[in-house]
Amino acid sequence: MYKRPFFWIVLAVIAAFVLVPGISGDVGLRESLLLGAVYIVLASNLNLMIGYTGYVNFGNIAFFGLGGYIGMYLVTALHWSVWLASAVAGASVSLFALLLGLGILRLRGAYFALATIGINEAVKAAVSNFSPFGGASGMYLSFSSFAPLGGPRHALWIIYFAIVVLMGASLLLSLAIKNSKFGLGLFAIREDEDAAIVLGVRAPWYKSAIFALSAFLPAMVGTLYFFKNGVILPEQAFDLTLSIEAIVMLMLGGQGTIFGAAFGAFVYEQFRGFLLVSPLFSQFQLVVAGILLLAIVLFLPGGFMGWVYRKLPRLRKVLE
């Protein structure tokens, strides 16, 4: 893997994410990059399902939200360290996805997409009624929880670095899968599942495995993100809009491409951030974002990287 230019590009991106705000100490920049990093994690793991396997997971945010809930529960109720909580959240949400996948991955196309929406809504409604997780009032983090990380000011930097590391892990995971036998099997499923099965791809297991894998890092990041926010509430954790936005990011950059997923997520974050603070657009940000998305879908369905790779096919070989 280290022979591939992409590996080094990822390292360079991580270094930039760490060093630029780290050296300048610019908290505003850090906050913006942090959201960018979270989006990259969401989009690139979603890419494993949509771009690699051809299954549109509309409820992808459920992994992030559940991870956040499990992690926050472990931190606030059982006083675990946030790192252990995050890892356990990742593992348990993956397990949940594996079991879920064996059931709903029998569905194809639009049926699968609808089922994932249903699952997100069901989980959200269940959590809203689940009292150990605080029900509808969610869970609030006491300020003292930041103490082990050196107080809130320090803690937010550490959490940021950790999320950047997980962002790097997401990209490398995408790369590793793309260049593996496992990845080849997934692509075959994406192109024609029946043909893939006849060729020997054990589709049910492959699909469940990638579903579980695509849940792991978002769930870990969910814990860190909500820990940083200090609060977790059902409507924040299972926000269907963010789920769909993750798909938009993927489309923007180009589904199936690792670079595209990351690029789309980052650009989308910056773009929405710009619209929010721009006095001209803040009233119409939803409209502007909608028009942009429509334009991409209608005129640039391969997304930005899809377009670039079509113009420069050699670049695809170099990068991915």
């Binding site: 709903i104 569905l107 609808l114 069901a122 489309m251 940000q285 409209v287 909608g290």
Partner: protein, 287 residues
């Protein structure tokens, strides 16, 4: 006991309206395999259209349905040509995103125009009371009209030339094209019909409850549940699915906390999707 009967009765009435809303979604999916994510926004536009006709222009709400259906059809055809036509035949994802983008645009403009605060159409009709339980007249009329509109749609689809063309395109687009049916125009008409029905459902809902520009969202989710109950792409099943959903909502309420209703609804939705992907009702299919 009385409460269960009362709950089931109002469940059926509300369910008919859920069914009508879902018919729009189901028709569009059945004809062009597009899950229309503007559905909720269109229901909301139907609500605001009713507000405009009744509270601003002083029309009777039920008379207002006529211009709303006509307007919904025009809006639907426009949305089809703007957003949907180009993505017909490409992957599921593309049509989902194209319609979602339209949804963002409509909601964005709607929020700028009306904010997200509720509007209310102050209108009521004498209802029926029974052992302390009352069913408002507006609810009875709305359910009846929902069934009438569904019936008219059925008549259109099965007894008119254009309707038959819509069904032909739905069952096999290539064959329809070979038979000389202008498929793109038919798709546009079907999309327009779907939106018109959604708008009508929104207007009927607005005679019952206050609403905001975001209200369509929860009816959209309910429409998903209903279409799955009734069978995706099976408009006749959607009406039955809607009534079933209404019955479930009414039927479980006396026994569990109502805040659990969405948990039950969506779990059922997923389970039925896995176990019976073709829906529970096969009425009107395979003619």
């Amino acid at each position: 006991m009385y409460d269960l009967v009362a709950s089931l009765a109002s469940g059926v009435l509300v369910g008919a309206i859920y069914g009508l809303a879902a018919i729009g979604l189901s028709l569009i999916f059945g004809v062009m395999k597009v899950i229309n994510l503007t559905h909720g926004a269109m229901i909301a536009l139907g609500m605001f259209a009713l507000y405009f006709f009744v509270s601003v222009l002083g029309f009777n709400p039920y008379v207002s349905l006529l211009p709303i259906v006509a307007g919904g059809f025009v809006v639907g055809v426009m949305v089809y040509w703007i957003a949907v036509n180009r993505v017909i035949g490409s992957s599921d994802l593309m049509s989902l995103l194209a319609t979602f983008a339209m949804n963002m645009i409509i909601i964005g403009v709607g929020t700028a125009l009306w904010t997200t605060s509720p509007y209310n159409v102050d209108f009521s009709l004498p209802g029926i009371s029974w052992h302390g339980y009352t069913i408002p007249g507006t609810q009875i009329v709305a359910a009846a009209l929902a069934i009438v509109i569904a019936g008219l749609l059925y008549v259109f689809l099965y007894h008119t030339r254009t309707g038959k063309a819509v069904r032909a395109v739905a069952s096999n687009r290539q064959a329809a094209e070979l038979m000389g049916i202008p498929t793109r125009r038919i798709l546009a008409i079907a999309f327009g019909l779907g939106i018109a029905v959604a708008g009508a459902a929104g207007a009927l809902i607005a005679t019952l409850f206050p609403f905001t520009i975001l209200s369509g969202g929860s009816y959209e989710l309910k429409s998903f549940v209903v279409t799955v109950l009734g069978g995706l792409g099976n408009p006749a099943g959607a009406l039955a699915g809607g009534i079933l959903l209404g019955l479930i909502e009414g039927g479980v309420a006396p026994f569990v906390d109502v805040s659990w209703t969405p948990v039950i609804e969506f779990s059922l939705f997923v389970l039925i999707l896995i176990a019976f992907p073709a829906g529970l009702f096969r009425i009107g299919k395979n003619h």
